[in-house]
């Protein structure tokens, strides 16, 4: 984590005026603080840990004994995963199929807003035109519109298109099965843009003015500056936004529920899991394994790219 600093033993910071007793007390204080914080961190992790342990226990064990008995009576199996991912029985989960849906939904939903927002943020920061500030504020302000405000009309837009005074301006999309991915991409892209523009604008507007002006003087056009100078410089910001958007889309339930439908052709993991939790709330062998399947990808992304994630978090608070 970027915010971590090297550990400084409390004693070394004490000044000449501090007595030995005070120094000892301070060191003890800092020890207790360390101890308490580690205990809290462990308590925080116990629910997740319990889930992981449970997911590798045999079905009859999970259903009859607490997961903590695993340590006195360890029985290990991967059957839960096998069943929940690949079984052809529709009650088992068939999560492999939904996993692919999650991937297919997430990748374009990250790429589109990333590219569009970078273009827009560049224009708002470095192209001189009338009403620039006003436009930026307007886009920024759109962040406060809850996406609940857009759902009903957007769904109608997909199904029946746009009709003004009886004249069809745009036909409905009439998408079936896999094609419904396009709806989800579209919705996620729209909803992500205000935050993405805001976050990237923060970074892009802080690039050195000299650099931009020198490029202009050399005769570089805006597309050229954008491609060759700006893009490489804002990679960390793009990464930060990319991780945000990835976690957001992968973990989303509401948008997927409405625009992807609930079937195995398009629904992502979250939709399927929520359904399983509702209808098969006591099939813990499936739920625990399924939940882990859904959290493993974001966990990997998060743990390996935590640095960028935190940077983005600190730059733009978070998306809501």
């Amino acid at each position: 984590m970027t915010t971590a600093t090297p550990t400084v033993p409390a004693g070394t910071q004490a000044t000449g005026t501090t007595t030995r007793a005070a120094r000892v007390r301070k060191r003890l204080n800092s020890r207790t603080a360390t101890l308490i914080s580690i205990i809290i961190a462990l308590v925080w992790t116990i629910p997740t840990f319990g889930l992981l342990i449970s997911s590798v226990r045999p079905e009859d064990q999970i259903k009859t004994t607490g997961w903590w008995t695993f340590f006195t009576n360890p029985q290990f199996t991967l059957e839960n995963y096998q069943e929940v991912l690949f079984s052809s029985s529709s009650s088992a989960g068939q999560l492999a199929s939904y996993f692919i849906n999650s991937l297919a939904i997430t990748i374009p939903s990250v790429l589109f807003p990333m590219a569009f927002a970078a273009l827009a943020a560049y224009a708002l920061a470095w192209i001189d035109f009338k009403g620039r500030d006003l436009l930026y504020i307007a886009i920024f302000a759109l962040q406060i519109v809850p996406l609940q405000m857009a759902l009903v009309p957007l769904l109608k837009f997909f199904s029946t298109g746009v009709t003004i005074a009886g004249v069809t301006v745009l036909p409905g999309w009439d998408l079936v099965d896999e094609q419904k991915f396009a709806q989800v991409w579209f919705a996620h892209t729209c909803f992500a843009l205000p935050f993405a523009v805001f976050l990237l604008h923060n970074f892009i507007s802080q690039l050195p003015r000299d650099l931009m002006e020198a490029a202009r003087v050399d005769g570089a056009t805006h597309p050229k500056i954008f491609r060759t100078i700006v893009l490489p410089l804002i990679t960390p910001a793009l990464a930060a936004f990319g991780i945000f958007q990835f976690l957001w889309v992968w973990n989303d339930l509401l948008v997927a529920l409405i625009f992807a439908g609930g079937r195995s052709e398009t629904a992502p993991l979250t939709v399927r899991l929520a359904e399983m939790a509702g209808t098969r709330g006591n099939e813990w062998q499936r739920l625990t394994a399924g939940a882990f399947v859904s959290i493993v990808v974001p966990l990997i992304v998060f743990l390996s790219l935590q640095r960028f994630f935190v940077r983005g978090l600190l730059a733009g608070s978070v998306k809501g």
Partner: protein, 349 residues
Amino acid sequence: MEFDFAEEQPKFLMLMYGLIAFVAVVGGLLLLLDVVPAWFARRREAQLIAASASGAPLPRRRKQREGLFALFFLLPTLLLLTVGLVVPAIRTTLLSFMDDGSNNWVGLRNYGWMFSEGSIVRVLINTLIWVILVPLVATSFGLIYAVLVDKARLEAIAKSLIFLPMAISFVGATIIWKFVYAYRGDGQEQIGLLNQFVVSLGGEPKQWLLESPLNTFLLIVIMIWIQAGFAMVVLSAAIKAIPADIVEAARLDGVSPWQMFWQITMPSIRPALIVVVVTLSIATLKVFDIVRTATNGNYDTSVIANEMYNQAFRYGKNGQGSALAVFLFVLVIPIVIYQIRNLRQQREG
């Protein structure tokens, strides 16, 4: 293995179409912006040559092209925002004044329904409880933890463990906690941690998620568990940004840790504190996944965002659903105005 990979092919094909569309749109736009100006430049050059040959005044229009460039850079974003956010938001506002089939105007009837129907009033009260408790507890916890862990050993790991739930989906987190709250009949061995805890203290196991109003608080615990890490990371960064000489000077003056916290730390991190509380409040107002996955809004646990989904998409009551969405929006506005005013004050002060 009974999984048929061939059946999944249409999905990959669709994904490929998506990626092709991406390359075509973004690449095409950049190409367009490269080629068209170059063509104009050539034409202008030709005009210049022609003009200088005939002695006519030189044409100028550099400024105009800047605006055109900006328009094209902004085009996809503006188009998508209009179609996907602005127009729908306006439409939803209009729908909230119409009946369920969206045919006739009904004035404020949907709003009247919201505040008079007992079950919906309950929903509003639940939302209020959520939006007060989650930011308050998560921020306090994050703050205490950030102070505790500051300069501790293994700080990075201890922080990561608290922060980790941020990466998990609300659905996943809810399943994790449903497992903690799991119930088995009295006398049987418990599999839920909470009931095991209660039993080992000599109590009776409970069906936690069925007991109102306790269940709402247990759902709030899930949200706090997820969000405390966010509060902690932002506040921890703010604490580390406090200038070392201020801290050192205070220490030389012999202030106690308690005084240090209230007189140095708190005032210094006030802006970060506000950002965290505001962000958490807005996120909490919109909470949907947790309630839906845990109880589906039954047993008196529903909140506005969940009820909005139910009304609009399950019961087909567009008017009532839209009214709830608009109400959600109205609740968000004062919070945001407060934040903007605070940020402005900070900047001026």
